[in-house]
Symmetry: C2
Subunit: 368 residues, 2 copies
């Protein structure tokens, strides 16, 4: 199967955890359909996980096509291989970073400049230092390549693509509000139904909703990262450190081990109760409001993250469970925002966000 | 300004009503930014309205670039001119049908096959006869062109692009539900607050929410069209006549003039009361439900349109005003749907849906 006139794509995947494997499963399942409809003729030419990698000539080859199996991981060699395979097939080089590595994004700029498109659910580049972010944007510009991270905000929900489309069609972003943490949504939901906060936390942990250290969730740090990505997508040059955050971890519990933390649920309950009661009492209508953990971007580029008391008429008031929701208020969507909501976490929907990036990158790439 | 390496686009616009003019305003306002970012170098080479048209060499030219002003409308000559201008600039030909014409779509297939991309907010092609729809798809396939109608459902909301992305990434559509009529949403909202239905209808008319003949809205025909477009987008071969519709026009008022209709508000009120009371009493929880006018597509391709009693926990229960909402339940978005909501009508947001189509069409067009 050659895919006829479909653009040829050499794809390398770094990181084969749950999300990476789900992505690989999805693109391989659609491989024939993508070729048949002329979208792309796809070859997965490299897969790396932990400290090893496999380099091949493509998906068709399986064992026979494999050049080198189980090499020691060498990211530069992997990138070079993807680029060489793309060149050999007269196609497009795409590298997918499916890790959560903070350092891997250091290599993005060089890859982008060398002609490799990058797709990632890794929030480190989008929310990391502005200097690196600028270098990534500049390198993509020079290399004629794209850096895409749809899955970094809302997983598979079409959030960043919608933001891009709003701006490219000349709309003006006035504000963005988001419920961007499924775990915090779950915890506040349980608390508002009268459960002790620690009780909800234990259930959330049992359901696999939490990071190994629950304070990663409770601190709001992950929401800050997503809001920084949205703010940059809206055209603001923002460092994560500039965001105002009110987390749900009492000061006294911010240090110490995870085990220590779990042994002081009484302190957590008292602290959270105090924070949330304060939020509720600061609201205009104490009885007729709901508390949501909200990230917001103002028109001036300010980002604030924390628990908010919202009137029942607010579009986020009706949310339940672990769903995400993002509301764009713009010049065109002024009185009522454009809102996108749904599950915002999980391997399958995260992978589908990465897949939609792949479709866009390939459609837009000019193979000359 | 040449736009450097940006793909060149010759665009013709048929229909210069509110939506057409809003679209023209938006693309001309973004013209320099689109060229600067390499997205496209855009020339509007033809504009037709009512019975006249203007053919030019492009936007820069203004009066001097005009070849022929105020010609008698000849759509084939217009299409030929757009194609010739695109060829002369080595670019892409795009024709935008901003009319509500039922017959203009008859010409789409020939245009698409001749190399002209088509973008339209006109629902007639997407919801019209399957035979014509098939011819349009086939012609686009043969011509290597695209037919796009994002603005036909939900105006500027990213509904059809999301549906396409879900399917292209290999997700499976299990059902689609939509509140797709802003006017019916407004009317049911007013009625549920205890107003006589006719009172809400008068207010809606005064606010400009209704078609000249309000029965166009009340019949649900427009919602059927949108659901047929969604159903075809989900891969079902459906004729509009196959949809089950329960409208809000009592039988006795379906014929007769608009003036007659407005003189029988007592009949309307009694008839609608009967319909909606029936819907409410047919629901499992009479007291704890809200009535919404819903279009639904089942997995087997069946479309049903009409008033529904929804439990308060339904994602559409919290909607208010004239907003649209579309919920996709898929293999990946199974327990909780992917939902998009916001204003779904109005010239500005409709034009921005057409503009996002233009960006996609140009990005994906291979100029060879």
């Amino acid at each position: 199967m050659t895919g006829g006139g479909a653009p040829r794509v050499a794809l390398g995947l770094v990181g084969a955890g749950q999300v990476g494997r789900a992505f690989l499963g999805q693109i391989l399942a659609q491989r024939e359909a993508l070729a048949a409809t002329g979208r792309m003729s796809l070859e997965v030419v490299a897969v790396a996980r932990s400290r090893q990698m496999v380099l091949t000539k493509g998906t068709d080859g399986d064992a026979t096509g494999a050049l080198d199996l189980d090499l020691e991981l060498d990211l530069d060699a992997l990138a070079q291989h993807v680029r060489a395979q793309a060149a050999a097939m007269g196609g497009i080089a795409v590298l997918v970073d499916s890790t959560a590595s903070a350092s891997l994004p250091d290599a993005y700029a060089a890859w982008l400049e060398s002609g490799i498109h990058i797709i990632t659910p890794n929030k480190q580049a989008g929310a990391g230092p502005l200097e690196r972010w600028d270098a990534i944007q500049d390198a993509a510009q020079r290399g004629g390549t794209r850096f895409r991270g749809e899955a970094t905000v809302g997983a598979g929900l079409p959030v960043l693509s919608t933001l891009r489309s709003l701006r490219e069609t000349g709309d003006e972003i006035l504000s963005i509000e988001g419920v961007l943490s499924g775990s915090l949504a779950y915890l506040l939901d349980a608390w508002s139904r009268g459960e002790a906060f620690s009780e909800g936390l234990r259930k959330a942990a049992a359901l696999g909703y939490l990071e190994p250290d629950p304070r990663e969730d409770l601190s709001g740090r992950d929401v800050v990262r997503k809001m920084v990505i949205l703010a940059r997508g809206a055209g603001h040059r923002l460092e994560a450190s500039a965001a105002t955050v009110q987390g749900l971890v009492p000061d006294i519990l911010t240090t110490g081990s995870v085990e220590d933390f779990w042994q002081h649920m009484d302190v957590l309950d008292a602290g959270v109760e105090q924070i949330l009661t304060g939020v509720r009492e600061g609201s205009a209508s104490v009885d007729r409001c709901v508390i949501r953990f909200v990230g917001s971007l103002s028109r001036d580029g300010t980002v604030a993250v924390g628990p908010r008391a919202l009137p029942l008429s607010h579009p986020f008031a009706g949310l339940s469970g672990t769903g995400n929701a993002i509301a764009f208020t713009t010049r065109r969507y002024n009185e009522t925002p454009l809102m996108i909501q749904g599950p915002g976490a999980g391997p399958d929907v995260t992978a589908s966000g990465m897949f939609s990036d792949l479709l866009e990158v390939v459609a837009a790439a000019r193979t000359s």
